[in-house]
Amino acid sequence: MLVALILLPLLPAALSLVLPWYQLRSWLLPATGAAHLGLVLLMAGGAPPTPHSWIGLDALSRLVLLVTSLLFLGCAFYAVDYLAMRRDRGNRVMVPCLLVFLSAMTLAISARHLGLLWVAVETTTLVSAPLIYFNRNRLSIEATWKYLLLCSVGIALAMLGLMFVGYSALGGGAAASLHFDWLLERAPSLSRPWLHAGFVFLLVGFGTKVGLAPLHSWKPDAYGEAPALVGALLSGGLTSVSFLAILRAMQLMSAAGDQLMARQALVGLGLLSLLLAAVFMVRQPDIKRMLAYSSVEHMGILALGVGIGGLATFGALLHLINNALTKGCLFLTAGNIQRAFASKHLSEVRGALSVLPLSGGLFLAGFLAITGAPPFGPFLSEFTILRGLFAADRPFIAAAFLLLLAVIFIGMGATVLAATQGEAGEPPGRFKDRLLLVAPPLVMLLLVLGLGLYLPEPLRQLLEAGAHLLEVRS
């Protein structure tokens, strides 16, 4: 079943290479996305993975899989109308790359062997590079080069990290293995220095892909120059997948009884990400780069939450869902605004609300959601993390967290309000809101709103099971 889920997108990907009809090729995306989501929902139950399984789903991977699948479906519908507008660029590269991207993300989420996880994550880097280069101009090539080189080097360091983890298991008599569940079982007997070194390299390597500061330098460029739907998929899907890889390393450290070191590292990186995002978001004149820094910020929040532990872990996992869906909404609407004004710079984007009432409104609402305004989901999850901070008796970190969130709210608000309010100076282009360009972000925002008002019981159980996996095993 899981194998079918991983291979599912590859068939339409192959089909898209030979199909001669442009529209039909685009429609392969939502069709695959819907089938993928359907299968994911069907597989809600299921046995936990065994020590020597290659793939399997536990609570954490189910959560990330659900989020990724939902986000992909939304972006896929958006892609149909987007690609219809961009016939000059064609979709012969975009469609197969997006589908292979989905397959690689699914593989990375379900991998229970660290080597397999690595291969899948590196594959996501490689297939997303052509997606970032979609616009084929000087800026997008610069962004693609930085993304490709930095992420490849980062991932190479993660490879070294998992080799260190493998080395820590050598010498125990039995043949070493990189099966994750096997490692978890034997974690207390792993060689400490090598395990610690492995954790650090895994954190740096996958942290580069997550975009935690100070490893985020590719992020504003890549998100800024990529098409909006690619930005949405990267900032909501790929970051969550890479964060899951960090969580795996964290799980290993907890099982070995060295949780403290892992937690301190995550808290440090998390606070640094929040700080750097706050610095660069104030007076940011480019709406997509602003969203990229917002992504750095929210990855920082995730790291902080998991680093604190307890209630904050639960909050961080909930925030993972909220962040992915809200980022999806924001990027997709920002793409519409960029198309209408032929710019993403504040010097030209003015009065988006009057030009594009729907996209502009959704962008504004998405901004309120992502900065933690009630009653949206992120408010709930950030508040839970804050409660977790106080419960863990870390008042100074809590104060810093609140202060940075306030700075980010003001900084982001200045940019967003300048873009949406006021009079549109230039007579805007012919772009108008279209159904498929507005419905996906609307649905994502409604989901985030729903999550803020009511947390369904099965989802709550899933989050608790996930948080439990990250706690100390005793």
Binding site: H113, G115, L116, W118, V119, E122, T123, T125, L126, A129, P130, Y133, R136, N137, R138, L139, I141, E142, A143, T144, W145, K146, L148, L149, S152, V153, A156, M159, L160, M163, G166, Y167, A169, L170, G171, A175, A176, S177, L178, S191, P193, W194, P220, D221, G224, E225, F280
Partner: protein, 212 residues
């Protein structure tokens, strides 16, 4: 077999110095090809003949020693670049830094809590020295193609370390890793070509429009 290993690893380290000190790109790529081809022998010389080590060696030899260098050579023929003209730091200082890094790698490897059977031999220090060389190239060179060479040397260093635990790495995963490396270089080659077409140079310092 440990003599053979030592000879291979010494040549690998010498090739590190060669790439750091050479301004000719073709020579650099050939050096990396030779390095990759030599490293591909390690699984066999260290672990002896077995199905696993033979396939791994063959795969690594074809990709690292032949196919990837061929891709790179083709790429520079298309963009007509011969020399690394203006590295950020001169060639002699980088060479000096490379020597320092290698010495540091040897000193550091001595202090690592290695298993008894790995304490002798050059495997770990050579791996560390090669990785550091890759980083030096990545940081000090401006041509996009030299950065790819640096990335390849970094990967070579990691490959050497991987030889220590080839039992833990199933063949499927090794194959996946090599395949990813190949695709990475292939994609980088394409991007390289586009950079050249767009900017009429492959100096990455021109790639600086995106900043705050």
């Amino acid at each position: 077999m440990s003599d053979v290993n030592s000879v291979i690893l010494l040549v690998v380290i010498l090739l590190n110095f060669f790439t750091l000190g050479s301004a000719r790109l073709v020579a650099c790529i050939r050096a990396v090809a030779l390095q990759g081809a030599l490293l591909a022998l390690l699984p066999v010389t260290v672990h002896g003949f077995s199905g696993h080590s033979l396939i791994l060696a063959l795969g690594a030899f074809t990709l690292k020693g032949l196919f990837i260098p061929w891709l790179l050579l083709r790429a520079i023929r298309e963009v007509r670049i011969r020399r690394e003209m203006e590295p950020l730091i001169g060639l002699v200082p980088t060479l000096f830094l490379g020597v320092l890094a290698t010495v540091a790698a040897f000193l550091f490897a001595d202090r690592l809590p290695l298993l008894l059977e790995h304490q002798e031999g050059l495997l770990v220090p050579a791996s560390l020295a090669t990785m550091l060389t890759g980083f030096l190239l990545l940081m000090t060179r401006r041509k996009a193609i030299t950065q790819v060479v640096g990335y390849l040397i970094l990967e070579n260093g990691i490959f050497v370390f991987g030889v220590l635990l080839s039992t833990a790495m199933p063949l499927v995963v090794e194959a996946g890793v090599l395949l990813d490396l190949l695709v990475a270089v292939f994609v980088m080659g394409i991007v390289l070509n586009q950079i050249n077409r767009e900017f009429a140079t492959i100096n990455t310092e021109r790639l600086s429009a995106l900043k705050e």
